[in-house]
């Protein structure tokens, strides 16, 4: 008998790690399809390259560590990391960008820290940040959505590593940060991506909605609790409302613009809900999410990088153990959580 003993067949067992990872990957599909619709086949190439190199890197490093390769590959976590990283990269970047990013994410950010469950930082975000600070030019060349440019670069453009300058456009976040003497309304009038949208730019708000839908599905399946995403979105909304100075040339963008630009929804539902690098207690998750929201706004408004979610998540990851330490829930029978901590230290 290899089947485990089950005592209550009417009870549904909890999802296993590989099932959770697979569900999260499935929840990314709507956003991936939308990105394909807007940016063309480059998105799918990024995803494929990222997945292939992540799985290869995982196999190699797990073999080096002398662990079971099959067990490591079967939990789908390398694929999920690669999917999240691939979706964060600009389409039609050079082929080695997703490869280098996935290898760093898997080898350095995950396995060198001890593998899945022991990594203090979100691997996909580490890979993204290393790429962003190493290759700032490549990483900020987002091409405009197909319908606003003359088509999109074909396969030959990628294979020949030709310059894709002809198709690149400033992302809305970049454009708003670098308003040079024109008001927000003038920018909207001059930028086809922004003017086509309802609250921001058409491609990015649609992609954010797709991530929001995927995230709500995961929430319904109880893959994660609502605390971290809600805290992040609320804190981002509140702080961008506080610092919103209308639509003059010094504007930092409206609250709704921030909620549906860049990687906000992807970060809120797919990145900070990572059970490994985030907080574990409910109160802790609220603080963790709020911290990410504030940091996202601070880095977007007063920083120099195209988006802020990755940096914000890494900074919050760093403080997660600290937050967890002070938000340990009171266990039944004890008057405060402090007792648990001190008795643990005594033991």
């Amino acid at each position: 008998m290899t089947k485990p003993l089950k005592s209550s067949p009417h009870l549904k067992s909890q999802l296993t790690t590989d099932q959770v990872m697979r569900l999260v990957i499935f929840a990314c599909i709507p956003a991936a399809l939308l990105m394909y619709q807007f940016f063309g086949v480059g998105v799918l190439i990024n995803l494929a390259l990222a997945i292939i190199s992540a799985v290869t890197a995982e196999t190699a490093i797990v073999a080096l560590r002398g662990r079971s390769i099959l067990a490591a590959l079967r939990d789908n976590s390398a694929i999920l990391t690669a999917v999240l990283l691939g979706l964060a990269l600009p389409a039609y970047c050079s082929w080695w960008i997703p490869v280098v990013g996935s290898v760093i994410a898997i080898v350095i950010a995950k396995q060198l820290f001890g593998g899945l469950g022991a990594n203090p930082f979100n691997p996909a975000m580490v890979g993204y940040v290393v790429l962003l600070i190493s290759f700032p030019v490549e990483m900020s060349q987002w091409i405009g959505a197909r319908e606003f440019t003359d088509g999109s670069p074909g396969l030959d453009a990628i294979l020949s590593n030709a310059s894709i300058d002809a198709w690149t456009m400033a992302t809305p976040l970049d454009a708003v940060r670098n308003l040079q003497g024109i008001t927000y309304n003038e920018l909207v009038a001059s930028d086809p991506q922004l003017s086509a949208g309802i609250i921001g730019s058409k491609p990015f708000e649609a992609i954010n909605f797709a991530f929001l839908l995927g995230g709500l599905y995961l929430l319904k399946r109880r893959i994660f609790t609502w605390h971290a995403p809600v805290a992040m979105l609320v804190s981002l909304f509140v702080i961008s409302l506080l610092f919103w100075s209308g639509s003059g040339s010094d504007t930092n963008g409206s609250p709704m613009f921030h909620l549906f630009s860049g990687a906000t929804m992807m970060g809120a539902f797919f990145i900070i809900t990572d059970p490994v690098s985030g907080c574990t207690s409910r109160r802790g998750r609220l603080i963790f999410g709020a911290l990410v929201g504030v940091l996202v706004y601070v880095i977007r408004a007063w920083g120099n990088y195209p988006d802020a979610v990755a940096f914000a998540v890494l900074l919050a990851n760093l403080s997660a153990p600290f937050i967890d330490y002070y938000t340990t829930p009171r266990s039944y029978g004890h008057t405060s959580s402090k007792i648990i901590i001190s008795s643990k230290e005594d033991a």
């Binding site: 050079s94 280098v100 350095i108 060198l112 290393v130 600070i133 190493s134 290759f135 700032p136 490549e138």
Partner: protein, 236 residues
Amino acid sequence: MSSPSYGQIGVDGLWRNNPALVQLLGLCPLLAVTGSVVNALGLGLATLVVLTCSNIVVSIFRNYASDAIRLPAFVMIIATFTTCAQLVMQAFTYELYLILGIFIPLIVTNCAILGRADAFASKNNVIRSAWDGISMGTGFLLVLLVLGACREILAEGKLFTNMSLLFGDAASTWEIQVFSTDYPGFLVAALPPGAFIITGFLIALKQYIDGVIERAQPSEAVIKGSKRVRTTGDIA
């Protein structure tokens, strides 16, 4: 106290007790200035000179400085030699002096130097202390060089750029193009995080080599028979 042999002191400084890879001392300059080989060489040489000279002087005065004031006295001695090194660099390699900046006076606070003064020079005679300073300083210098080379190759795809800062105009042609000129440059290697990561890999490499050496050596012959007193069975 039995003094270690000269060979042992050399092996300790260069490999077994290397200040950068094993003691993990002096990491601040190690990580901050190893962006290129020439910076690493400049700071490594300055550290080597200061370490050797301060070891000699500390060893001379080892019997006159009382325990209570020995650390301030050692720091004064180290600071003296650091100032000398700084003035020499300012006079002869002014551009490199400007690049290294604050990290030359900061040699005073390099724990590796104070550590050797207190742990070795204050307990051993002058010649041994000088030899210890040379081997420890060389061990530190070599790690700086390897780290500088790795970071320079990864970040810029070149090796030995700007060597003329240290060796005069004759060295201006030493630059080697390791990767092709359209190598994009892995910028993170030039930044402090890259230095940390590469240092980690160097430490791992050292431990791996140690493991290989240990396994290659014939293990000590197992003494047959039990050492416990036995009343039954045969005793070999």
